[in-house]
Symmetry: C2
Subunit: 335 residues, 2 copies
């Protein structure tokens, strides 16, 4: 490898243009030193993306850079935290300068958008593995959690579901490539719902980001909150582009719905709203194109695993929670 | 894989016995929520260990668990921070329960010793890669840094040098196995100098942990501080066990010294002390078995790369900074 570890760090990762005033010491010492305001809690999340497991080998370095940060920012959005800092550990087979340049374009492009400073990293030779830890700040005691859903709360989602899973079918050539490549963009360059997460503090009773699919992630809310839910399949939001694919018979209606329910990688927010907050929530629904898709059941349940019922025109096709649909089938899989 | 990601996380990593009161939310939600006292700065460091790059494949899971946390705690020690929390991202080829059990024994054993709570993680299938981020707390403005060494400061190290590199020679069968296996232990189960790092706050003018070898790491202090140094080779601390190997002619004197200077993986602290602090420092020297091994040059230098001179009986063998000696030659290498 032509470049030493320190060359790479200084040339590519230490040139983060952001200089937050709460970073006392950034990249280059044994530790970064960071200042957390006394009225804030620190929110942290770590995520690893492995080639052929979490992303197809055909993913561009820029898209990988974007996505590796986006999945962490989406976790911060889910608790309503404001993004602040990131650390990056990257393992690369070769120190390809063009690759690194492109990766940084995606990573720092998104970092700048959310005022996130890269404060530490580790660069090693090995299989292509990217680990990012994000750090955010949230007013003390106000973080959104999974366990707060209450009987009769409304179940809501932001944006559209199933596009990223459709993009994966395109990327893995299980579906013909269609124009415009919006589905691939939804897979490779998810936009974390950071603004929406912040606005939901004090409104939503629970929140989670949709990384594994609506059913799986809503299931985590239900389990943590010990409640059940009923979803109206007629209200599951499908994008204009998805509806076009259905019209063009590229994909059928039930497949589209299944992708929306179980596909994952959408990085939208799923949250619950108490009835007395619905009016206030209307004012912010536009921030994430939010809609109500169902309701929490009227009883607390002691132990809930997958307690989701469906209503709507297609409900007969989803008599119970579908499981076992993989949102990405690579050489490996999430352990 | 028999166990799902969530099974593994809940069964192995969520059972951390520690319950720190500053952890508002631990493993299991989208983010951990942590409380940083208003008079403290947050110190963070992320490190990745890859099989056959950073540790031999023969390393036991327990040793790997210990070491993956120890290298991060050593970074916290180098800035004088008190360890608080850790996150862990682990990629495994198979979810082997006995392996995980053993890994956790090493990881949590060390974590308990330093009151470090595991607050987040990611568990994926892939090549064996372990990434740990450590989080520590340090009084505002008091963190030790690399850039504070001043002309005529004393250069000090803790403990003994070269044992870990000797252990690597044993592990890779370049040196015969000797009893007791202290050298292997020094390689596989380093003890981070957390207590010493805390005691050095307000005393040391600069500090770094020795991960890449004394020469390389002291070099980082010199470069950041824009100074040079002279080391007395007669004062480089060799362990009783190393001296025994020299006496038994298993290893020769110059090889031992070269391992001590360039071998790496010792995770001792190298630091500089102003003359007016030497007396106060004597009181704490016992905490890390510290000794003075040299002195910072009497002039500031504008640009210093490797400005280390040697004195002592063996100085003729080290006329300049030796480079290119790899402390671990695996299939890959640090990028």
């Amino acid at each position: 490898m032509g470049l030493s570890e320190f060359d790479i760090i200084s040339r590519f990762f230490a040139r983060d243009p952001l200089r937050r005033t709460d970073v006392r010491l950034g990249i280059g010492d044994d530790c970064a030193l960071l200042e957390v305001p006394s009225n804030r809690e620190l929110a942290v999340s770590i995520d690893t993306l492995i080639e052929d497991v979490h992303f197809p080998a055909s993913t561009s370095p820029s898209d990988l850079g974007h996505k590796s940060l986006a999945v962490g920012l989406s976790d911060l959005a889910a608790v309503g935290a404001q993004p602040a800092w990131a650390t990056l550990s990257i393992s690369l087979p070769t120190a390809d300068e063009a690759w690194l340049e492109d990766f940084c374009k995606g990573f720092f492009g998104l970092a700048e958008q959310y005022n996130v400073q890269l404060v530490g990293g580790d660069t090693v030779r090995g299989p292509l593995v990217v680990t990012v830890q994000v750090h955010g700040l949230v007013p003390r005691g106000e973080a959104l959690r999974r366990g707060g859903a209450r009987p009769l709360d409304s179940v809501c989602v932001s944006g559209y579901l199933g596009d990223a899973a459709t993009g994966l079918l395109v990327a893995t050539e299980q579906l013909e490539r269609v124009s415009p490549p919006v589905m691939l963009d939804r897979l490779n360059r998810p936009e974390p719902r950071v603004e929406l997460g912040g606005l939901l503090r004090g409104l939503a009773s629970s929140c989670i980001d949709i990384s594994d699919g609506l059913i799986a992630d809503l299931g985590h809310i239900l389990e943590a909150s010990q409640v059940s839910a009923t979803l109206d399949l007629d209200r599951i939001p499908l994008s204009r582009e998805m509806l076009d694919l259905i019209d063009a018979k590229v994909i059928d209606q039930h497949k589209a719905l299944k992708l929306a329910l179980t596909g994952g990688d959408d990085y939208e927010l799923c949250f619950t709203l108490p009835n007395d907050k619905l009016k206030r929530a209307q004012a912010i629904a536009g921030a994430g194109n939010c809609r109500i898709i169902g309701r929490i059941g009227d009883n607390k349940v002691i132990k809930c695993t997958g307690g989701i019922k469906f209503t709507g025109a297609d409900a007969e096709y989803f008599p119970e929670v579908p499981t076992g649909y993989d949102h990405f089938e690579g050489k490996g899989k999430d352990a």
